[in-house]
Amino acid sequence: MSWYRNLACVAFVVASGMAVAAATKSAPGTEPNAPAASAIDVKIDNFTFAPGTITVPKGTTVNWTNHDDIPHTVVAEDKTTFKSKALDTDDKFSYTFDKPGTYSYFCSLHPKMTAKVVVQ
């Protein structure tokens, strides 16, 4: 049994190494140790933002897509930093986070729907 486990471990390390190499390769011009700024998706499904908390490097663009058959909004808790229009089914909203900080947000139609973006 331990042989299989070790093999699985080796496979995981190899795969991880390849992923790191791929990430480094895909972000030319950045410092080798800095995480690459990119884009990340947040789904709105069943009256929930998923993932509810995301931690991203600064410069990341977050793309929200509403998969519900009822409209939702994406509004920063301070109601000014970012504020989408009503997103009907399959509508999208994007915002690029340039400054580090914790950004709590909610749906202004269904305020019980809350989530946050942590920008490093």
Binding site: D69, I70, P71, E77, K85, A86, S108, H110, P111
Partner: protein, 336 residues
């Protein structure tokens, strides 16, 4: 058959004004239709199936009006691809009432996305109602995008603040409240300090025997806070109404009928004319409930309200869109 004792709050574990027994009882009413007659603070309730036992004279008040809610014009998903047809059916139901209502109340979510053409369509359909006056309060869908500016321009000229106002009809004082403005992350419906102060002042000079009917979109009682079905400062508003002998609160928002009596206050939520929503906690989310097409109209409806002076009675009748328009007079004995 009186339910007044049974409907009093017995055990209020969550301090939300709802005990489990009362809550389940309310739920048993949902979808079946209920008549309530309040007399001197005592509520008698009858299911629609017992309508034949009522004295018809009690169903004819000096003031009669109908409530519609949550027309969500613009909604076109599977739960109801034709909200135009069901709103028209609701208007037809109102036009067929045995006592023609003097006016209509629309308790919000007129539109789905606050688009001008959505409001236009509703206005056009409501022109077909026998009652020409319609009094509105906004839902959160009517406020999306512009914090209600368009709503106020169309439906609340001369109102205060975000769109609240009051008026009198035949000695009954009506108060239209707005609890969908400035909603905060994680919060419930909210009236806000300015509106509360206005309400306190608005009812100050009324005699305690004046019947008061308050209408607002989000329920002014705590039905299911996890889904946002409540108003955080409603207790403050209701405290200004404690001295009145008869207070009726009419709400929408939850797309199903529920009723509760607490002291002098009868709370009632109306069905939507567009699509049903699940019973509290009975689904993962309060999203539109998809039911077989032949069942849809049994879950949509209108509410008509009769006020009988001298008896302090408000009779609230929910009518489903698939029910026969009139109760046969032959089936109603003169006494019960």
């Amino acid at each position: 058959m009186s339910h007044s004792k049974k409907d009093e709050i017995q055990v209020d574990h969550n301090h939300d004004g709802v005990d489990r027994r009362g809550f389940l009882k309310c739920m048993a009413w949902a979808g079946t239709g209920t008549i309530c007659l309040m007399s001197g603070g005592v509520l008698k309730s009858y299911s629609l199936s017992r309508l034949a036992e009522l004295d018809p004279s009690q169903m004819k008040g000096e003031l009669s009006f109908a409530q519609i809610s949550d027309s969500h014009m613009g909604f076109n998903k599977a739960a109801n691809p034709d909200v135009v047809a069901t709103l028209k059916a609701a208007v037809a139901k109102i036009n067929a009432l045995p006592t023609p209502p003097e006016f209509l109340l629309h308790t919000g979510d007129i539109s789905h996305l606050a688009k001008p053409e959505e409001f236009d369509t509703v206005d056009q359909i409501l022109k077909g109602a026998v009652a020409k006056d319609v009094f509105f309060v906004p839902g959160e869908h009517d406020f999306v995008g512009d914090d209600g500016q368009q709503y106020r321009d169309r439906y609340a000229k001369g109102s205060k603040g975000a769109g609240w106002y009051s008026f009198d009809k035949k000695g009954v004082h009506f108060v239209g409240l707005v609890n969908v403005q400035n909603l905060k992350a994680g919060g419930l419906g909210s009236l806000g300090q300015d509106q509360l102060e206005w309400l306190e002042d608005d009812v100050k000079s009324l005699g305690s025997s004046t019947p008061v009917i308050v209408f607002a979109h989000i329920p002014l009682w705590s039905i299911y806070p996890d889904w946002g079905w409540g108003t955080e400062d409603s207790a403050q508003a209701l405290s200004y109404l404690k001295r009145f002998g008869s207070v009726t609160v009419l709400n929408g928002h939850i797309h199903q009928t529920m009723q509760k009596v607490e002291g002098n206050v009868t709370f009632h939520t109306a069905a939507s004319t567009a699509f049903p929503q699940p019973e509290p906690g009975k689904a993962d989310s309060p999203g539109p409930m998809k039911v077989p097409a032949e069942q849809l109209r049994s879950l949509l409806g209108v509410t008509d309200v009769n006020f009988v002076r001298g008896k302090h009675a408000v009779a609230i009748v929910d009518r489903k869109l698939n029910q026969p328009d009139q109760v046969s007079q032959e089936n109603q004995p003169s006494n019960y």
